[in-house]
């Protein structure tokens, strides 16, 4: 079994399960929708104001919604002792991790694609800067959330209060990534500053933490 075939098989299985049940995407979507509506009531911004706060709102909504999906990542595998079976199998642990992270990445990207029109409608958004830069920020930022989120979900699944623990572990570590996403998005939307530094920073963050996750995942998977 090569790393690639294990990754592909696991990813395929997860996507198919999600396609049939739609558990994660439905709960994420509805959660994000609620956040959008509540923020809209809470701030009631004009078009000009919303351009400067939208970066923060969008990413907070996606961050919270992503946690909903991330929490379900490993819960499924606990039920029939799948994780134990995985541990005794010769399959490389990092293949499992990469597959899970990619699966979550796809779920959150789908969520973002579906939610962005709603944000545009509710907040009357119109970007001053180039839109393709927003796509770059979204992809890098989503990976930053998802790679650490998948790892910390594997940590928190072993604690007593599973679902509560994930955001408590994930948010402090994600602070620089969230700052970078929000500032990059705001500077593109308002067109007042260059987002270059933040995009580079997100790329560095992604690289560093992907490496750390891959380095440590085996120990966490095999923790007794």
């Amino acid at each position: 079994m090569t790393t690639l075939s294990v990754t592909r098989a696991t990813l395929h299985k997860d996507l198919r399960m999600e396609w049939r049940s739609k558990d994660a995407i439905n709960s994420m979507l509805f959660f994000a929708l609620l956040v959008v509506v509540i923020f809209s009531f809470a701030f009631n911004p004009t078009a000009e104001e919303s351009r400067s706060i939208a970066g923060g709102l969008v990413w907070v909504a996606f961050l919270f919604a992503a946690v909903v999906a991330l929490n379900q990542t490993w819960a499924r595998e606990l039920r029939n002792q799948v994780l134990d079976a995985y541990r005794v199998s010769p399959a490389p642990p990092n293949a499992l991790f990469v597959a899970k992270a990619l699966g979550n990445f796809l779920f959150v990207v789908v969520l973002e694609v579906l939610m962005t029109p709603l944000f545009v409608v509710f907040y009357n958004l119109r970007s001053v800067g180039p839109v393709w830069q927003l796509v770059v920020v979204a992809l890098l930022g989503t990976w930053a959330l998802v790679v650490n989120g998948t790892f910390f979900a594997a940590l928190s699944i072993r604690t007593r209060s599973r679902e509560i623990m994930l955001p408590l572990l994930l948010f402090p570590i994600s602070i620089p990534a969230v700052l970078a996403m929000v500032d990059a998005t705001t500077s593109i939307l308002t067109g007042e500053a260059s987002p270059d530094f933040w995009i580079k920073m997100l790329a560095v963050y992604d690289l560093v933490f992907t490496a750390v996750c891959l380095l440590l995942f085996e120990s966490v998977l095999n923790a007794e």
Partner: protein, 229 residues
Amino acid sequence: MKQLFIAFIVLTLGLLAYSTYQALYVAPTEQTMGDVQRIFYYHVPSAWTAGVCFLVNFLASVVYLWKRNTASDALAAASAEVGMTFCTIVLITGPIWARPVWGIWWTWDARLTTTLVLWLIYVSYLMLRRFSAGGQTQVLAAALAIFGFVDVPIVYMSIRWFRTQHPSPVMGGGENSGLDPVMLQAFFWNLLSFTCVGIVLMVLRYRLQRLEENVEAKHAAVALQGGSR
């Protein structure tokens, strides 16, 4: 060994008394800030000690993942708790000093924010230790410690770009930098005594952790014996 440690505690208490005297009576009053500047002799040494503790925590975590020995895990747990305490002192003394000098309690500047994020990461570290079950705690905590350690420089870099208000390092570099020699002397006494207090607390907490592990092992052994009868 025990007597040596008691001697070290006595020495630390003596140092603490002397450095307090240095900070409050010997060091001259600062020209523009006045007496409030004396908080410097507590603020900076606490930050230094917290940094040392977190460094010990990181090293102990790496050693644990490598060697899987309970001693380094106990050291990691002890240093995280003591580091948290000193980090809390930094976060409390900082605003008390900032309010009269800068006119504000808090600002999102590089060093303040990094310290706060560091504090948040270690709160989550201690919570993870508290909430995870049995033998898994050590590995999970060690993994999180490494994440936290990697995160801190990134936080610092990002906020530095964001904005900075905290004074640049006073000692070393720059034309107008440099402390009055008497101030410097008081500062170093405090640095020394705070580091010693940190070491004393870490050793005590480490011994407590080892004792707890012993008690748990004995309980488990007794339960096993009772079960076999």
